[in-house]
């Protein structure tokens, strides 16, 4: 098989640089100090009710690990259009896909940190220059039209291929919506419930399988690490690479 992942091609197309230093807890990755109040719930779009709920639940705002507050706002608005909240239920915003990406940019996805910094800025500039407003201020319909331009390569002002940037964000949005909640996304199992995945199990009996086939298997809402038997130490250290590969 060809062992060059789509993501590898994207990386080279986007021109992502090698790993950037991991941002400290109170420092944005561009080196600018972030004061704690900026990370209050209000600094995020309050329409992201679940994020606000998470803040309330934990009693403290969740620190961003890589993105600036503004970058997070733009990214959250993007993922909200990629997998929107609609009649089919919660989307990528409720799942916390942007938070997943923020965390991963400090670890496994760190080689794409620069691509995010420059891509998010370019997308916002393009929204302003072509539609007269920042991306976040645009109506959902206009946001979609901007994203279509980025997806199809028609948007201007990007350092590398805007289509590659779009594909990368979509890919990571899938990871943050449908990946194990251990990594900060798929909050409340929103992604797994959307597609009907009944949760991580360590044993599936013939009866379980027949129950699934009868559409009666209820989700157990379990992460791999809820089982307590698996080593977590390596879970966040690995370099991002490869797609769902065949062995």
């Amino acid at each position: 098989m060809t062992f060059i992942s789509r993501r590898d091609l994207l990386k080279s197309a986007v021109g992502a640089v090698a790993a950037v230093p991991v941002a400290g807890a109170f420092e944005a990755s561009d080196g600018r100090a972030i004061v704690a109040p900026e990370r209050s719930a209000e600094s995020f779009a309050l329409r992201d009710e679940s994020m606000a709920r998470a803040f309330q639940a934990s009693g403290a705002p969740e620190a961003l690990e890589s993105l600036s507050a503004h970058e997070m706002e733009v990214l959250d608005a993007i993922v909200g259009r990629l997998i929107p909240t609609d009649a089919n239920g919660p989307g990528a915003v409720e799942a916390g896909a942007a938070r997943y990406i923020d965390r991963a940019l400090a670890g496994a996805l760190s080689p794409t940190r620069e691509a995010y910094r420059s891509g998010l800025a370019a997308l916002d500039r393009y929204a302003q220059s072509s539609r007269g407003k920042t991306f976040k201020e645009l109506s959902p319909t206009d946001q979609d039209s901007v994203l279509i331009d980025v997806e199809t390569g028609a948007a201007t002002g990007f350092a590398g291929s805007c289509a590659a940037f779009f594909a990368m964000v979509l890919n990571h949005t899938h990871q943050g919506t449908f990946g194990d909640p251990y990594y900060g996304g798929n909050r409340d199992f929103a992604g797994w419930d959307l597609i009907g995945y009944p949760g991580v199990r360590t044993m599936v009996s013939p009866t379980d399988q027949r129950t699934l086939e009868a559409h009666q298997l209820k989700s157990n809402h379990k992460s791999a690490y809820d089982y307590g038997t698996f080593t977590k130490s390596s879970a966040r250290l690995s370099a991002d690479a490869g797609g769902d590969r065949q062995a």
Partner: protein, 572 residues
């Protein structure tokens, strides 16, 4: 100067699928073995059912020796190299890639051993594709049958026999060659969807059967049966039900007291003495250099590692790399033509969330020479494999079959309905070696130690493209019979790239001018050097290589043990 270690009889470089098997018959015969493994021991705690980690981020393949030496690749000598991938398809650990592989454990067909003579006999010599360097194997299927049997019982393979001593059992593969007995375990269970696919195959007149798997369908050798939890693909087994060499042959070899396992040993070169005999291997652990002397060296890494280690081991006797005085190291390379699959969309759920890629239904009617090629413009064929394997991120990335955009509310509605309704068949196809497909050392790219990595120059040729189109047509017919509402075919042909099924480079054959190792897997040029792995295979057939790799490793080890005095005494 390297630290010189105590002498041993045999040093095995790499304790994976091949080396992990060879250690057992050697140790049982009383031969002292040192197994050098670049990776470490892993345990069931390391095998979290975590798609992001295993399938997306490539753990535990990442941060490994192999990962630092990912080959470059290009379709042909006049093309630039493609961007390198970031994860090597193989992993370094005790047990190697048998920890995370699919576990499909197929025997080859008799035809695969005799492609040249059988094609010539049945259709004429002109049907051998132009430019192919394919040769008959130096022995036939019957020679390997005993070793297939040893591995099937030694590590444990589940399956349904189709031909025991010539008696055809319609529940199994009627096209398989005779076997002396059935599998040690019944096949893995089927899902409703797999049953339905089998029924549709029958209505087309095909002969469906469950595929063989090195995964326990019931308790075997005091290890658990499979739990069907859905993370077998690129994941290790949390209950030791996947029969990797880590849980089968390696511990049994250790129990003899004659296998010493050395982990984190990164072998850099093989030493050759003044007589042109192999003297031992150099390896690094944490930057410290060791020399392990041995009477016999068995190179048992993955195809790229085997070729690279020989090419990097230059000496006065072998100025172009060890065992390469005929210029054959790196030649006759090919990767299995196993992509170019077919995807189908069904009108109802397939309930595939909890399965494994070795759980499925196969059709061999269009594999190898199981059908008449008289009116066709190719030789060989493909194994059609429909299996049960799905995880959430992979599901979200499914094709929308032209029925929805890739994102937004319409996509969300599509994926909500269809995430569990697609299936993609795996079609492994005959692939041949060609004059201009080869591995050499990259002139530019080096690993962190400063040694060049492999460069793969290879593309699928016309015969491979025709086999792909033909088998895709059969697969599409099968899916349509089962009620698929949409079909998508993957592109055929193109560059071979870096593969999990990489063959050749140290081919086995009687003629030293065209083969690196002899019929026993020992070097024609340095007879106390052996090579284990698919790098010795000259044809692929239409089935996964691992069982054949392991049968060959067992056979080489047994030959070595039986002829120990003669082979080891070459060095004096």
């Amino acid at each position: 100067m390297a630290n010189r270690l105590k002498d041993t009889d045999v040093v095995i470089v790499g304790l994976g699928a091949a080396g992990g098997v060879a250690a057992l018959p050697l140790a049982q015969a009383g031969i002292e073995v040192v197994g050098l493994e670049a990776g470490t021991w892993l345990t069931r705690k390391d095998f979290a059912p975590d798609e992001l980690r295993n399938n997306v981020r490539g753990w535990p393949q990442s941060v490994q020796k192999a990962n630092q030496e990912i080959p470059t690749s290009r379709p042909n000598a006049s093309s630039p190299s493609a961007p390198r991938g970031t994860v090597h398809p193989m992993q370094n650990s005790v047990g190697g890639t048998t920890l995370h592989y699919w576990g499909q454990s197929w025997r080859l067909n008799p035809w695969d051993f005799k492609v040249v003579s059988e094609t010539t006999r049945r259709y004429g010599a002109s049907r051998i594709p132009k430019g192919s360097t394919v040769e008959d194997w130096p022995f036939d299927y019957d020679e390997l049958e005993a070793y297939y049997d040893k591995v099937e019982y030694g590590v444990g393979v589940s399956g349904q026999a189709g031909n025991v001593d010539g008696r055809i059992d319609p529940r199994g593969n009627p096209f398989e060659a005779p076997r002396r007995r059935g599998y040690p375990m019944p096949p893995l269970r089927w899902t409703e969807f797999i049953e339905k696919m089998a029924g549709s195959a029958k209505s087309l007149g095909f002969h469906p059967f469950p595929g063989p798997a090195a995964v326990n369908s019931r308790s075997y050798q005091n290890r658990s049966p499979c739990m069907y939890h859905g993370f077998c693909n690129r994941g290790g087994c949390h209950v030791d039900a996947k029969n990797s060499t880590m849980v089968t042959t390696i511990p049994r070899a250790q129990a003899t007291g004659r296998l010493k396992v050395v982990t984190r040993a990164h072998v850099t070169t093989i030493e050759v003495d003044a007589n042109g005999q192999v003297a031992g291997v150099n390896y690094l652990t944490d930057g410290v250099e060791y020399f392990q002397p041995a009477k016999v060296v068995l190179v048992a890494g993955y195809t790229y590692e085997n070729v690279r280690l020989l090419l990097l081991s230059k000496s006065k006797a072998f100025p172009n790399g060890l065992s390469n005085n005929h210029g054959q190291v790196g030649r006759h390379y090919f990767s299995h033509n196993m992509l170019a699959g077919v995807s189908a969309l069904f009108p109802s759920n397939t309930s595939s969330w909890y399965g494994l890629p070795a759980q499925g239904v196969a059709v061999d009617d269009w594999a190898d020479d199981n059908f008449d090629h008289s009116g066709l413009d190719f030789i060989g064929g493909g194994n059609l494999w429909v299996y049960s394997d799905r995880r959430p991120i992979g599901a979200a990335g499914m094709s929308t079959f032209g029925r929805a955009p890739a994102w937004g509310s319409a996509w969300k509605a599509f994926i909500k309905e269809n995430a569990d309704r697609s299936n993609t068949a795996y079609i492994q196809k005959t692939t041949l070696p060609y004059e201009d497909n080869y591995i050499d050392l990259d002139p530019v790219v080096k690993d962190p130690l400063g040694f060049p990595v492999c460069r793969v120059t290879a593309e699928f040729k016309e015969n491979e493209r025709r086999v792909s189109l033909f088998t895709q047509g059969k697969m599409e017919q099968w899916y349509r019979e089962a009620g698929a509402v949409a079909i998508q075919r993957a592109p055929v042909g193109g560059a071979m790239g870096i593969s999990t099924h990489a063959y050749g480079g140290t081919r086995m054959g009687d003629n030293p001018a065209t083969n690196v190792v002899d019929r026993w897997g020992l070097s024609h040029e340095a007879p106390n050097l052996g090579v284990l792995g698919a790098s010795t295979m000259g044809t692929s057939g239409a089935h996964n290589p691992t069982l054949t790799v392991q049968a060959l490793a067992w056979r080489t080890a047994e030959h070595l043990a039986k002829n120990w005095n003669r082979i080891s005494n070459r060095r004096s």
